[in-house]
């Protein structure tokens, strides 16, 4: 284990990414406690004020007088939560689908992977839009619909990986010992998939966060009065002439999160992905 993580001490980008990510998460969780304002509280005396120390509106307020420090951090929490949950959904579907297809092989694998191919060729964002419409606009449907479409790459990676495992001696030994298929998959195949799955999960999270903010920006994601980075940016865009700070804070946080996750993911891929060794 020690040796495995040794690279991490030398990979400056990955370490900086992880530190930045942890700081942002900590700020998103603890920051609102430091502010006297709540997410939907209106400050009638200070509508649309610029960032400053006055009345603890550190990021300024929007045109309803809501505190943007608290709202931006709430948006960060939404982004991180959806990033994790939707990635979890796509991980569950993708790993199950890919492991079954890869282990079964033959015609079943062909059929299952053909399904993935067809879905791959569909313009995915437009189907997420359709799905959010079908399932109604709520955070829950948001991560289900993003996760439900985001599992394809995971399924491909897992399928290829399982296929190469299937002919290893220890799997053949397990088959010869008469273990049931389910037990072989769960106890012997899945643990050996952990590396690539972890790598691709890390690389999925920023993509998912971007889709969430994309949908919220268009008005299909998180709804007012709840805050998300996407809908804060949409409001900021509408008001950018008179109140540019409304746009800048959520933009900065979104970019920082995606960049940090990218650095961590690249670091993991360079050192954990068997194909890179």
């Amino acid at each position: 284990m020690r040796r495995r993580w040794h690279w991490f001490e030398r990979d400056l980008a990955a370490r900086a990414g992880l530190v930045a990510l942890a700081s942002i998460a900590l700020l998103a969780l603890a920051g609102p406690l430091a502010s006297p304002w709540r997410v939907d509280e209106l400050d009638w005396a200070r509508i649309g004020v610029a960032p400053g120390l006055e009345a603890a509106h550190w990021f300024g307020t929007d045109r309803l007088g809501r505190d943007l420090f608290v709202r931006t951090l709430a948006g960060v929490r939404v982004s991180l939560a959806i990033g994790l949950l939707a990635t979890l959904v796509s991980l569950l579907i993708g790993v199950a689908w890919g492991a079954i297809a890869g282990y079964a092989g033959g015609r079943l694998e062909g059929a299952m992977m053909r399904v993935v191919d067809v879905f791959y060729s569909l313009p995915y964002v437009f189907f997420v839009i359709l799905l959010t419409v079908t399932l109604g606009r709520s955070p829950a449907t948001l991560f289900i619909s993003i996760g439900a479409v985001g599992w394809l790459t995971m399924a491909r990676v897992v399928c290829a990986q399982t296929e190469s495992l299937r002919h290893k001696e220890f799997i053949e030994a397990a088959v010869a010992a008469g273990l049931p298929v389910r037990r072989i998959l769960v106890r012997h195949v899945l643990p050996n998939l952990a590396g690539p799955v972890l790598v691709y999960a890390t690389l999925t999270v920023p993509g998912v966060i971007l889709i969430e903010s994309f949908l919220s920006f268009l008005g299909l994601g998180v709804q007012e009065p709840a805050a998300s980075l996407g809908n804060l940016m949409a409001q900021g865009t509408a008001e950018m002439e008179s109140a540019p700070w409304m746009l800048l804070a959520p933009c900065a946080f979104l970019v920082a999160i995606v960049l940090a996750l990218g650095f961590v993911g690249d670091g993991l891929r360079d050192h954990l992905d068997p194909r890179e060794r």
Partner: protein
């Protein structure tokens, strides 16, 4: 040629799946296109639904839709009463194709040379700088760059209009196209760099160098053509990404493209409008993917052979 034709026919089942899936998804959504008008008497609503054929069984509606689609008719819009979906698409498509096509061209024209330059300057200052900037470029989506660009160049510097579309003049095009192109441009640059570096490490390049060929000839004649394969393969997904990005770009800059009315249509249950636009977007993506595949097959005979097998 017969290969191209066969691939074109191969799109039909995929398109059929797309149309069916989109039809089912739109119809599963609760509510209907005539629900939101509060003053609508039940008789009038029933009449409206009959006029649009919504009173028929769903299966029959589906078959009827497919029949009309086969003739290229996407039906009337259910919310924008004076327009058919075909008319709305005829208005929006040229705008979207203009900004999308220009964005793709721009990212190729700048991304490829950047990537090549970075690969040649491997691990030196220029390479490091380009890699850092492109990492930033990929991480920043168009709905962040678009308003920021409008803020800087439209509001602070007043060089270009913040929004608008007066017959597609150049000054209206610059900011949307640049915002749309940046992530693709950055990704293409990185892809080109990685691909060129990979090919440059192959034995035949060493052989060419040993033969005493000039560095320029090695790069342009021996390294670049095979290195373009993965870059070309990425153009399909890149086009899909640019189309998706054009949705937000059109919103930010108030352009009358395909994305207009799509979100409203989806929320208002304008069945025909949403279906029609999703089908057109999907067809565009599929056709572009096909075009890229054909281009690759033309350049690399191995791909043709593999597909046939």
């Amino acid at each position: 040629m017969s290969y191209a034709l066969r691939r074109l026919l191969g799109l039909v089942p995929t398109l059929f799946i797309i149309v069916s899936l989109a039809f089912v998804l739109v119809r599963l959504a609760p509510g209907g296109p005539f629900d939101q008008e509060q003053t609508l008497a039940p008789e009038i609503k029933a009449n409206l639904e009959r006029a649009y054929g919504l009173d028929r069984p769903l299966g029959e509606q589906y078959l009827r839709y497919l029949g009309r689609l086969a003739h290229g008719d996407l039906g009337p819009s259910m919310r924008l009463r004076d327009f058919t979906v075909n008319e709305l698409i005829a208005i929006g498509l040229p705008v979207s194709l203009t900004i999308g096509g220009l964005a793709l061209a721009l990212s190729l024209l700048i991304g490829l040379p950047l990537g090549l330059g970075a690969a040649l300057a491997r691990r030196r200052g220029l390479d490091r700088l380009l890699m850092a900037t492109t990492a930033l470029g990929i991480a920043i989506p168009p709905y962040v760059t678009a308003p920021l660009l409008a803020l800087v160049f439209g509001i602070y510097l007043r060089w270009l209009p913040v929004a608008g579309w007066e017959g597609g003049q150049l000054r209206d095009l610059v900011l949307p196209v640049v915002a749309l192109a940046l992530p693709t441009l950055a990704y293409l640059a990185r892809l080109t760099r990685a691909s060129v570096l990979e090919v440059a490490g192959l034995p035949f390049v060493r052989a060419a160098r040993a033969k005493g060929l000039s560095e320029a000839r090695i790069v342009l004649v021996h390294v670049l053509p095979p290195a373009l394969g993965p870059v070309l393969a990425y153009l399909g997904p890149a086009a899909a990404g640019i189309l998706a990005g054009s949705l937000v770009i059109e919103t930010v800059f108030g352009l009358p493209g395909m994305g207009r009315f799509l979100v409203e249509g989806a929320l208002n249950r304008d069945y025909t409008l949403v279906l029609g636009k999703v089908i057109v977007y999907a067809t565009l993506v599929l056709l572009l993917n096909l075009l890229v595949d054909l281009l690759r097959a033309l350049l690399d005979p191995r791909i043709r052979a593999r597909r046939r097998a």
